[in-house]
């Protein structure tokens, strides 16, 4: 006896096996990401005032690159559209069309990951510096013409650097959440087109120096964990979709219906991954 309903739907449920399987898997994924979103909420509501200095509620805002994040959102939404088109092309028996749409989808996935990597790198070279007079600034600095990644105060000291020339951020307007006005002096600096203050900070005056990495603040911890996990899902989806575009095409000749089913299942997963991003983007970038 062969396993039934691997290709054709069972009449009373109307589904083939893989479709039931992927939906159950997605249900568990909802619980996984749901747990992370719950963790986000709990960490945020218990964040102490003054913990992250320049905002009122102890939770950092506007540290992520919103234009790039928006662009990435658009990339993922388009890739979801093309994955459906690819599936439809198979239903119309048009394999070249399928392949073109799928190529675009996979390219979007890789583009998304590339942009995300760039964003990560930008964070790893972005520092929060607390000086002995209790002031806290954020910004980038160059050593020998390069922006160093993952440095700590110990790294700076071990290089015998005495003064750091820091491009101190003038907080952008997104650092102040909706409902909070941008202070007058910062507003003025923006109007004049200034976004950074060049400042020299004596290393001996530095209390702590941390890159924007997970251990610096729970916001970064949850941001990196969630986006990294989401990135892994994007990568996994891209590998599966690329497999069906380049290597697994034999099945199309042997059993087109099963191949179409697999693309549908892959598309369902892809939609889910994109849907997660649609929730993730406003939560970590905007709010």
């Amino acid at each position: 006896m062969d396993i039934p309903y691997t290709v054709n739907p069972r009449s009373d449920t109307g589904l083939y096996n893989a479709k039931v399987g992927i939906w159950l898997f997605l249900a568990s994924e909802v619980m996984l990401f749901g747990a992370f979103f719950s963790a986000y909420i709990l960490l945020r509501v218990t964040a102490q005032q003054g913990f992250w200095p320049d905002v009122a509620d102890g939770w950092p805002h506007g540290l992520l690159n919103i234009p790039i994040g928006t662009f990435n959102t658009a990339v993922l939404i388009s890739s979801s559209v093309t994955v459906v088109m690819a599936w439809m092309a198979l239903k119309e028996n048009n394999f070249p069309k399928f392949r073109n749409f799928m190529l675009f989808t996979v390219a979007c996935a890789l583009g998304f990951l590339g942009i995300k990597t760039f964003e990560y790198k930008e964070k790893f070279s972005h520092y929060v510096i607390r000086t002995t007079d209790g002031k806290v600034v954020t910004g980038h600095f160059d050593v020998d013409g390069k922006s160093p990644l993952f440095w700590t105060l110990d790294t700076v000291k071990s290089k015998n650097i005495e003064k750091l020339k820091v491009e101190v951020d003038i907080p952008n307007r997104y650092r102040f959440p909706v409902g909070m006005q941008v202070p007058e002096d910062i507003h003025k600096a923006h109007a004049e087109g200034r976004h950074h203050d060049e400042r020299v900070i004596e290393v001996s005056q530095i209390d702590s120096l941390k890159a924007f990495i997970p251990s610096t603040h729970p916001f970064f911890a949850i941001y990196f964990t969630m986006t990294f996990l989401h990135g892994l899902h994007v990568l996994g989806g891209a590998i599966v979709l690329a497999y069906f575009t380049f290597i697994g095409t034999d099945l199309w000749r042997k059993n087109p219906e099963q191949f179409t089913n697999r693309i549908e299942v892959g598309g369902l997963f892809w939609h889910f991954v994109d849907l997660v991003w649609i929730f993730l983007f406003p939560v970590v970038y905007l709010l």
Binding site: M1, D2, I3, P4, Y5, R10, T13, L15, N17, V20, G21, L24, F25, A27, S28, E29, M31, L32, G34, A35, F36, S38, A39, L42, L43, T46, A47, Q48, F51, G58, I213, P214, S215, T216, H217, P218, A221, I222, T225, L229
Partner: protein
């Protein structure tokens, strides 16, 4: 029925399956098998081995509780040699070793022994047979599920041998303790515990997807939902619990892993100070978050432990009372309600955290609600016995003992579910006694019953009855001698986490009566008695494979469900011809029928 017995001699998977042109080789057949029956057996043997190993950990701990500071006989020297002198100085169990044995006993018993035995082994072997399916819906996922489970087990076992030893913060791994327990080693026991858990969670996720799909899609013709054996219903709900409750623990595990390895502060609060001074982390995290995410899994996990056991017991009781289960429909709806309510009771483990009286009241209410369907199931099984001509064979004895034992475990849980009494009993030996009554003489008895009951289908031979009865009566007596004194210890205020059994706590006259420490000795003696009475089982289990009495029919218990209508042992693809179901699962002693059982596949 007789029509299928003639196929008994069909060679393994050759006669009616086009896919297997060749006899599979050793690796294909035993290691990389995609056949649900072989995977079930793999799960069964590995989980029984883990059950034994977890039991040994407990024996060593029991020795330390009864005779604190005395070298453990035999094992002590081995521990000192293998785990190092800082763990077992001169064969004496040190506090760190006790803590890691405690944590690993819990972890191994729950995640590597009972669940894989109840869900992985019985679920895999029996469920597809009972629904008349040729295999699971996704055989390769099934294989991957077992391999991940095995890998998870290897990681857990391996963690004993790394510097610092295995995880030692309890099976609950509460933060910040779990993160700070071993400040020296970055890759410590806790890290390996988390990696092991992620593997085990992934394994059970694949299993759960597979089970649910199989039960929804691969039911035989005529097998409607209300004709499903209760065992299948129990597995179905269990699979949903695993599917939806485990991912939050996976999330929590990943976050604790980040806390351990990357230095994040998901679960570490601001201003955390230990004996080593201020902990150098950013802080701002929430220790309560871990507890919420952990118990969101771990309470449904309790039902994962108990529901398959109820399924096994129902099958055996219906079969051996020779009458239908009383209230099949209420059983089904009760198990579904448990499945739903299991998700909204988790915080009754957290009354002591100060999460607030309103929240405590909510969870107290839902906890009382979930006891209703549990009582319905137990009552229905008790009433099923009424007026039956009961066959007292070994599986039935274990199934019968399950009922009062689980009853004790369940009823003693009520004071823990109520806020006011729990504040006193929390973290005492009372808790240990309560959940061990549910799981040890409860679930494990049901699983023993299952082993004796399905053994003939798997091997073609029956396990020896005399040894079985010795095993049963010995286990029943000693289980109770072990766990009932713990209620007394707990009520008298003995904490569950003290590695000398509370001797240091009581010596200065603070707290309760030190007389209860004497019970530690008698409990340990009873534990040795229990160990002694497992020997007949171990012997019987292996001896009967080649020397047990051969079954003369495919249906030695004269049962009604579909798994007994396959050849013995079932070949690849299970059924000689497509099974069709004509009736409900427990049509025993139907008036006017030829025999006292009417199999589901019998027309008319």
């Amino acid at each position: 029925m007789a029509s299928t017995s003639s196929h008994t001699s069909a060679p393994h998977g050759v006669s009616h399956d086009d896919h297997y042109h060749h006899e599979p080789g050793f690796f294909e057949k035993y290691i990389f098998s995609t056949d649900h029956k072989m995977i079930g057996i793999q799960y069964g043997l590995s989980s029984l081995a883990f059950l034994f190993f977890g039991f040994l950990l407990m024996m060593a701990m029991r020795w330390q509780l009864a005779y604190p500071g005395k070298p453990i006989p035999v094992l002590g020297a081995i521990f000192e040699k293998v785990l190092g002198a800082d763990m077992a100085q001169g064969g004496v169990m040190q506090a760190d070793l006790y803590n890691s044995f405690g944590a690993m006993h819990g972890t191994i018993m729950v995640f590597l022994a009972i669940v894989p035995l109840a869900f992985g082994a019985f679920g895999n072997y029996v469920t597809p047979l009972q629904i008349g399916a040729p295999d699971m819906a996704f055989p390769r996922l099934n294989m991957a599920s077992f391999h991940l489970y095995f890998l998870g087990g290897v990681v857990m076992l391996g963690s004993f041998f790394i510097p610092g030893g295995a995880a030692k913060s309890g099976w609950t791994s509460y933060s910040p303790l779990a993160t700070l327990a071993d400040p020296v080693n970055v890759i410590d026991g806790q890290t390996l515990w988390l990696i092991g858990m992620v593997l085990l969670i992934t394994s059970s996720l694949l299993g759960a997807v597979n089970f649910i799909t199989t039960i929804i899609q691969l039911r035989a013709r005529g097998l409607t939902w209300m004709r499903l054996p209760f065992f299948v219903w129990a597995q179905f709900v269990t699979a949903f619990l695993l599917l939806l409750a485990f991912p939050p623990l996976e999330a929590a595990g990943l976050m604790q892993l980040a806390d351990n390895v990357l230095g994040t502060s998901f679960f570490l609060p601001t201003g955390l100070v230990t004996s080593g001074g201020q902990v150098p982390v950013s802080g701002g995290g929430s220790p309560l978050l871990w507890q919420h995410l952990f118990w969101f899994l771990a309470h449904p996990e309790v039902y994962v432990l108990i529901l398959p056991a109820m399924g096994v017991v129902s099958e055996i009781i219906a079969n051996n009372t020779r009458k239908p289960l009383w209230g099949y429909r209420s059983l089904v709806f009760a198990v579904l309600s448990i499945g739903f309510l299991a998700f909204i009771v988790w915080a009754h483990h957290m009354y002591m955290t100060g999460m607030g009286t309103k929240i405590a009241t909510f969870f107290q209410t839902t906890t009382m609600m979930i006891s209703v369907p549990s009582v319905i199931i137990l009552s229905a099984l008790f009433i099923s016995l009424w007026g039956g001509s009961i066959r007292f064979n070994t599986p039935m004895l274990f199934a019968l003992a399950f009922l009062p034992m689980f009853g004790i475990g369940g009823l003693t849980g009520l004071p823990l579910g109520l806020n006011a009494t729990d504040l006193y009993l929390h973290d005492s030996y009372y808790v240990i006694a309560h959940f061990h009554y549910v799981v040890a003489p409860g679930t494990i008895f049901a699983l023993f019953a299952g082993v004796y009951y399905w053994y003939p289908k798997i091997t073609g031979r029956v396990m020896n009855e005399t040894f079985g009865k010795v095993h049963f009566w010995g286990s029943l007596v000693f289980m109770n001698l072990i766990f009932s004194p713990m209620f007394i210890q707990g009520i008298r205020g003995m904490s569950r986490r003290m590695y000398d059994g509370g001797a240091t706590y009581f010596q200065d006259g603070v707290g309760a009566d030190p007389g209860i420490l004497k019970l530690n000795v008698s409990i340990t003696h009873a534990a040795f008695g229990l160990a002694l009475f497992q020997l007949p089982f171990i012997f019987n289990f292996f001896w009967s494979i080649s020397n047990g009495k051969k079954v003369t029919s495919d249906n030695p218990w004269e049962a009604t469900t579909l798994e007994w209508q396959t050849p013995t042992p079932p070949p690849h693809g299970n059924f000689a011809s497509e099974p069709v179901v004509y009736r409900g699962p427990y049509e025993y002693s139907v008036p006017g029928a030829e025999k006292d059982f009417s199999p589901q596949g019998q027309p008319g």
